[in-house]
């Protein structure tokens, strides 16, 4: 056996290993380090064991933020996935307008997070923003800095505006791969539009939809920049999502220990939910195969 020949391959991935170590593993270890110690500055550390974790588990503030976070992710998924599919279904299949729509759809995706936040921050302002001013002029009480509902609606609409395109583009790619014969067969069978969607299009795009849901879930669960720029987490704590809360804790209050414990738990929650979700979806997919 010439197995030794293959050992060379390890050298090729060494640079990546080093890079990942510096960019992910070492910082993560630092966080782990903070989470089990207490510090009063001056580089003095005291062993704290799992106290910070215990404290965070009992913290009402964290549970509230987690609740808000889950609600937010659930709402934007419930809107973006069906809306994205709907948009994809209605996009032209070929020709000039197909490319035009693709470019148009990609535009929001190209805008940096903080710019998106700034756009909506100004857009929604009652004094100078087009949206805020119009709504106010129509007699609707809209003020995202003071009104709980206005703040949530703004953050959700902003996210939907920013990210539905991603879902739509993925779904569109899935739809494009369906051979024409399927649509012909459906016509011959006199299938309704709904049946075509339910039995041809949906099964064929399940794979990409899974990726879309996973991406959107992880991304929305870690959302920080946009709500921070628009509402700053307010009014009150009404749009303080997990990451905003985390930053407040770590940099605002300099509670490094609890913040570190918090981030580890945060990380594990995302990992867990993504894993469960992925497993369930792939099993659903496999269940009736073979």
């Amino acid at each position: 056996m010439n197995k030794t020949v293959n050992q060379k391959a390890w050298f090729l991935i060494l640079p990546v290993l080093v890079l990942v170590a510096f960019s992910a593993v070492i910082p993560l270890m630092t966080v782990v380090n903070y989470s089990v110690q207490d510090t009063f500055g001056n580089n003095q550390f005291f062993w704290a064991g799992i106290d910070w974790f215990r404290e965070m588990m009992a913290s009402e503030r964290m549970w509230d933020a987690l609740g808000r976070q889950i609600a937010f992710s659930a709402i934007i998924l419930a809107i973006e996935i069906p809306l994205g599919i709907f948009v994809a279904l209605n996009m032209p299949k070929k020709g000039f307008w197909a490319s035009f729509c693709l470019v148009l759809m990609s535009l929001p995706l190209l805008i940096p997070w903080n710019v998106v936040g700034t756009i909506w921050q100004i857009f929604g302002r009652v004094d100078i923003g087009l949206l805020g001013y119009t709504l106010d002029a129509m007699g609707i009480d809209y003020n995202y800095t003071q009104n709980f509902y206005a703040a949530w609606i703004t953050v959700i609409v902003m996210d939907v505006w920013h990210w539905t395109s991603l879902v739509a583009l993925l779904a569109y790619a899935g739809l494009q791969s369906i051979p024409d014969a399927y649509y012909q067969a459906a016509k011959i069978d006199q299938a309704s539009r709904w049946a075509v969607f339910r039995f041809i299009e949906l099964p064929k795009i399940t794979g990409v939809l899974m990726i879309a849901i996973l991406l959107r879930f992880m991304d929305s669960f870690m959302i920080y920049t946009e709500p921070f720029v628009v509402t700053g987490g307010g009014p009150g704590n009404s749009t303080t999502f997990l990451s905003i809360d985390l930053v407040k804790m770590a940099l605002g209050q300099f509670d490094l220990g609890p913040a570190a414990a918090f981030s580890i738990m945060y990380y594990l929650v995302i990992l867990l939910i993504s894993y469960v979700f992925y497993t369930v979806m792939t099993n659903l997919d496999k269940r009736d195969g073979h």
């Binding site: 056996m1 010439n2 197995k3 020949v5 293959n6």
Partner: protein, 373 residues
């Protein structure tokens, strides 16, 4: 030079794709892997090429163990069912590409490309891009590329499957002629018995990850070692019938019997008789002494021949009859069979006696001195 597989096997995710296999292929031979989809043809080719490493066993090239060697380091060329060419290069550059990688001089490349293009009838199209060519020409381009590489081992994985029937027929006739001269080992996978016969050379019949027989193509066709090989190598499928031998007589169920001169050594008992559709006749022209009656279910006329599909005591039989016959469907039909055309298999499927005619034909072919190779 030779490629030798020694006890090579492949298991993927607990599923056995290739059972331990021994095979020796010699240079300058055309070797056909014949079997249905998923029989393991492609898996075996990947092991030969070095694209996969076998779980057990060794691969020798020219007596040297190359089991773990990468495909890049072996002299292997491969042609697939899909027409794979570099779309942005001209036909000339496509054909030249493997030689450029080998660092040949411009003059050498030019001469080889021109020669290959000439053989593949692509000389007029050297300046065009592959996508401007017809399917047949695209595949010829891929074949030409495999040819100029001057590889010791050329693997062709159902290269003609995506082509029109008539084009397939033409290329099939050309391929052996072209590759005969090249002197490499050719391995050609196909699902069609007819293709194996037309290509000649040697045939390995494959079934569920095993090579059931490997020998000269006409021998595998006429003297299959078991019923599985016979089934794989018959299109339309071989007909089977349970028979019984007692004393020196074979009993075919409905009172038909034949002397068992050739099978004297067989112990008495139950056997399975097999015979090919083209050996069934509608009238007894002398030797077809076995007479069967079945219900005609379907007839198909090819223009010069008639396929009859019979229900014989619940078994489906196919007969291929010379000439166009006007037969009524749903009615009992008498068919005749020469006992010399009957293969006898044991209950477990192993051949206990090949059809008498087969051994005779083989001798006749061998003495002709014009065998196709």
């Amino acid at each position: 030079m030779a490629l030798v597989l020694e006890g090579v096997s492949k298991v993927v995710n607990g599923q056995t794709h290739i059972h331990p296999t021994d095979l020796e292929l010699r240079s300058g031979t055309m070797n056909v892997l014949l079997g249905p989809t998923l029989a393991g043809k492609t898996s075996l080719m990947r092991l030969m090429a070095g694209l996969d490493v076998p779980n057990t066993g060794k691969v020798f090239w020219d007596g040297k163990d190359v089991t773990g060697m990468r495909v890049q380091d072996r002299g292997v060329a491969m042609v697939y069912q899909q027409f794979i060419n570099y779309p942005s290069m001209t036909v000339y550059e496509n054909i030249a590409s493997p030689m450029r990688l080998l660092g040949k001089t411009a003059a050498e490349i030019d001469a080889a490309v021109k020669k290959a293009a000439d053989l593949m009838k692509l000389s007029e199209m050297l300046d065009r891009k592959p996508l401007e060519l017809s399917g047949g020409q695209q595949q010829r381009c891929a074949l030409a590329r495999a040819l100029v590489k001057d590889a010791g081992l050329v693997l062709l994985d159902e290269p003609l499957a995506n082509l029109d029937y008539k084009l397939r027929e033409e290329l099939r006739a050309e391929i052996p002629k072209i590759f005969e001269e090249a002197g490499s080992i050719f391995v050609y996978a196909t699902t069609e018995p007819e293709e194996a016969l037309l290509l000649g050379g040697n045939t390995a019949t494959m079934w569920e990850g095993r090579i059931t027989q490997f020998d000269k193509t006409p021998i595998v066709y006429r003297q299959p070692v078991d019923a599985t090989t016979a089934r794989v190598f018959s299109d339309p499928p071989m007909n089977f019938l349970n028979i019984r031998k007692s004393g020196d007589t074979l009993h075919f169920g409905d009172g038909q019997s034949a002397g068992s001169a050739g099978f004297a050594a067989l112990p008495d008992g139950e056997y399975v008789a097999g015979f090919r559709p083209n050996h069934l006749e509608l009238e007894n022209r002398g030797n077809a002494t076995l007479e069967f009656t079945g219900t005609l279910q379907v007839k198909e006329i090819t223009g010069s021949e008639t396929f009859v599909h019979l229900d014989h005591h619940g078994e489906n039989w196919v007969g291929l009859i010379h000439g166009v016959k006007d037969l009524e469907i749903g009615v009992a039909l008498k068919v005749f069979l020469d006992p010399r055309h009957v293969y006898i298999f044991a209950q477990d499927g192993t051949s206990v006696a090949p059809a008498a005619y087969a051994t005779e034909t083989q001798t006749a072919t061998a003495t002709e001195g014009l065998t196709h190779g």
